[in-house]
Amino acid sequence: MPVNEFVVRVGGDTLEGGIIRTGEFLAHALARCGLEVFTFRTYPAEIKGGQAMIQVRTSERPIYSHGDEVDILICFDEEAWEIHRHEFNPYGVLIYDSKFEPKNVPGTATTYGLPFSEIAKVKLRNPLSKNMVILGAFSALFGLPKEVFEQLIRDYWGRRGEKVVSANITALNEGFEEARKLEKRDPYRVEVRPMRDRIILSGNEAICYGAIAAGCKVFAGYPITPASDILEWMMEHLPHFDGTPLQVEDEIAAIGAVLGASFAGAKAMTATSGPGFSLMTEFLGHAAMAEIPCVIADIQRAGPSTGMPTKSEQSDLYQAVFGGHGDVPRIVLAPSTVQGCFYVTVHAFNLAELCQLPVIILSDQSLAHRTETIEPIDLSKIIVIDREVYDPVVHGGDGYRRYLLTETGVSPMSVPGKPGSYTAEGLEHDEFGHPNWDQENHMTMTEKRFRKLELALRYDEYYPGFQGYRWYGPRQADVGVIAWGSTAGAVREAVELAEREGISVAVLHVSMLYPLNKEVVCRFINSMKQVLLPELNYTGQFAHLIRGETGLDVVSYTKVTGVPFKVREILEAIKELAHEAALAR
């Protein structure tokens, strides 16, 4: 649908500059036209140079994935065309810098060559203004009102003075006038709709906001792609919320500081990616053993080892669920949308405090760095849960038992500076925290620590409306799809398309990966003829977990290309299973 329903991609070498900004401005402008937007980006791992791209999908309806095909492709250089032409809609529009002539363009496509570089360099004497020239051309070609871009320029550069603003507006006008000379030969158009009340955030930003909303007071981290922007945000903002951000010497120090801070009474978190998360494993076990609440955000990238730092994967699930020596209880949550990043982070803190357990948030590169228009967040509606604090008057003052055996497994926790001193102990211990290796005791205390997972499964009693398991579609169907993390968006769109084709299909969207609600998952699997589980890893990690936990089988569908699933790929897999289900009938 060419009106208000398309995917734009901007690609070029980062040496040219401005590629990502072009896309960001475009996304913002489309949002100001009353449309939903969803961006997706990849960038080179090199410090300077290398191809970067940003994709902006827009629609009048909610968007769940970045889109399979590029309808409008803007190429800064020939290499960009060569890279992106494979995902180019053959009936789409190619806008390119006329300094090169693109080869092998499908005859069905519309092409507009414009001298962006020449205008910027020769006429404007400012090579960096090329992105504004391109946006001006976009405005003329697709009817996105120029005033929207002008206002954005003012909002963005206003603080830098009128000179900067007017230079950018001049560049915008040059592009606009140049493109107006062209004859419009494509059907794509922007039509302004009434403004929606929306905010724009990236996944990583949403995690930061969620952390502060939940009461995070100490953050510790070490730079790592693609989680560094969380560290940077915290270094900038945590201090004015009376918190303490710590950039420490490595990821071991990061989680160590988080546990020290939490032990001392502050809510604390760290954010990292696979390699850093591996380093944290020993302390993860310590957090479970000493029962110290903490939150670890793992922004997954392609592994193993250094892997592909700027590419996306969902391959840290084994590490999150099983990582560590000994029996280590922990909670693993996975957001699927930018909005989900905010709420899952709030839930992560709440669950950590409620259960006195480490909680891991599994996000990934594609989710971390994409932006979405989302409904505004009203902080007054957030429920914040704090740990049960030991009070000698309430709990009885004689001999504080830090690891008191209780029905839920949770024992009231004292705070240094107040009565109730004890030693947070990594050795197996008794109720007082005294080291103890009696046979019975290790059994009893292990059971106590694992009992808290049952409490985690009842979190919705503490946070009404929380859904760790969301079942979309019919109660019984030919095909069921289990979705987790960033893949859930593509699944949702694929399922809508499959339904339109008459396929009977349902979705179980899991955001609490561990502990697994076996009852719900078993019910879902047993109600479907076939169950598909798409995920971005090679070994089918969540499929393995589900098989192990439920004893039921699912069809694992995996891919490791560094980029998210396309809707079409999942749709094809659903169709295949639907076909098998029909044959079995």
């Binding site: 909303a213 010497e249 120090a253 990061a254 989680i255 500081a257 032990f263 009474g265 302390f283 925290g433």
Partner: protein, 284 residues
């Protein structure tokens, strides 16, 4: 060394230490009780963070708050405690392997951060809990179960390292001199910044150095100036004589003061902006 019953009552826990009879760590524990008693600190406002090894068991033998962390990781945990509540008195306890081998990286950064805490380095020149292997402070001529042909790496001098890494208070003492040790620990606690107390704490079971240190340990000369960094390094690295006392001290802003300054800057930049304001500003 006898400790007043009152002090013992206040700081000693019911848990009986697991150390071998005669272990230097008993002296350190006693000296710590005395220092806390002399400063009149409330055990509930003191946090003792330890790593793994014989020294790791230290916190549980006191009535203070304790955090028995992981091997080598005392410093990150202590940093976190201070970040959450700068008003607590934090004492970190680590062995020579803890501090200089597995935790060597953290030690460097703890020194340069100048966190306001006290680090008791209980140095017995080997790994004792694992029953006698070589550590970074194993002496050159010493043989151990893991170095049966003698050591093949150089000795590391913790006091000199700490000075160069940016610690602002560096002292050395001998566990057999509990009263002197108590004085030094009290000074270290009172020092505003990172204070290292390197304690020669013999292991009677695997490498008994009592006689050795009785000969080698010597108090710093009366005219010694602990603000002279070059002289401090010279005295610290003297292996023939083990000089005890405050080797080095200086005053620099503490980590906590710097964090406070950052908070003030941030509050100036974002005057009264709430999280809801920030979210609202992200409207398209």
């Amino acid at each position: 060394m006898a400790v007043g019953a009152e002090v013992r009552e206040r700081y000693k826990s019911d848990l009986k230490p697991i150390w071998c009879p005669g272990c230097g760590d008993y002296g350190v524990l006693t000296a710590t009780f005395m220092a806390l008693g002399n400063l009149g600190l409330n055990p509930e406002e003191v946090v003792i963070v330890s790593g793994i090894g014989c020294s790791g068991r230290f916190p549980a033998f006191t009535t203070a708050y304790g955090f028995h962390s992981l091997h080598g990781r005392t410093m990150p945990v202590a940093l976190g405690v201070k970040a959450a509540n700068p008003n607590l008195t934090v004492i970190a306890v680590g062995g020579d392997g803890d501090t200089l081998a597995i935790g060597g990286n953290h030690f460097m950064h703890a020194c340069r951060r100048n966190i306001n805490l006290t680090y008791l380095l209980l140095d017995n020149n080997l790994y004792a809990l694992t029953k006698g292997q070589a550590s970074p402070t194993t002496l050159p001529w010493q043989t151990t179960d893991s170095t049966p042909y003698g050591g093949y790496e150089n000795y590391v001098e913790p006091c000199a390292l700490a000075i160069l890494y940016g610690a602002t208070f560096v002292a050395r003492e001998f566990s057999a001199r509990a009263r002197k040790l108590a004085e030094v620990i009290a000074q270290a606690i009172q020092h505003p910044g990172f204070a290292l107390v390197h304690i020669l704490s013999p292991c009677v079971t695997f490498f008994d150095t009592y006689d050795l240190y009785k000969q080698k340990v010597k108090e710093l000369p009366p005219d010694y100036d602990p603000t002279d960094m070059n002289r401090a390094i010279q005295f610290a690295t003297d292996i023939e004589t083990r000089w005890v006392g405050v080797l080095y001290r200086t005053v620099k802003p503490t980590f906590e003061e710097r964090v406070q300054a950052i908070r003030e800057k941030a509050k100036q930049r974002y005057q009264g902006v709430t999280l809801q304001d920030m979210l609202n500003r992200r409207r398209v």
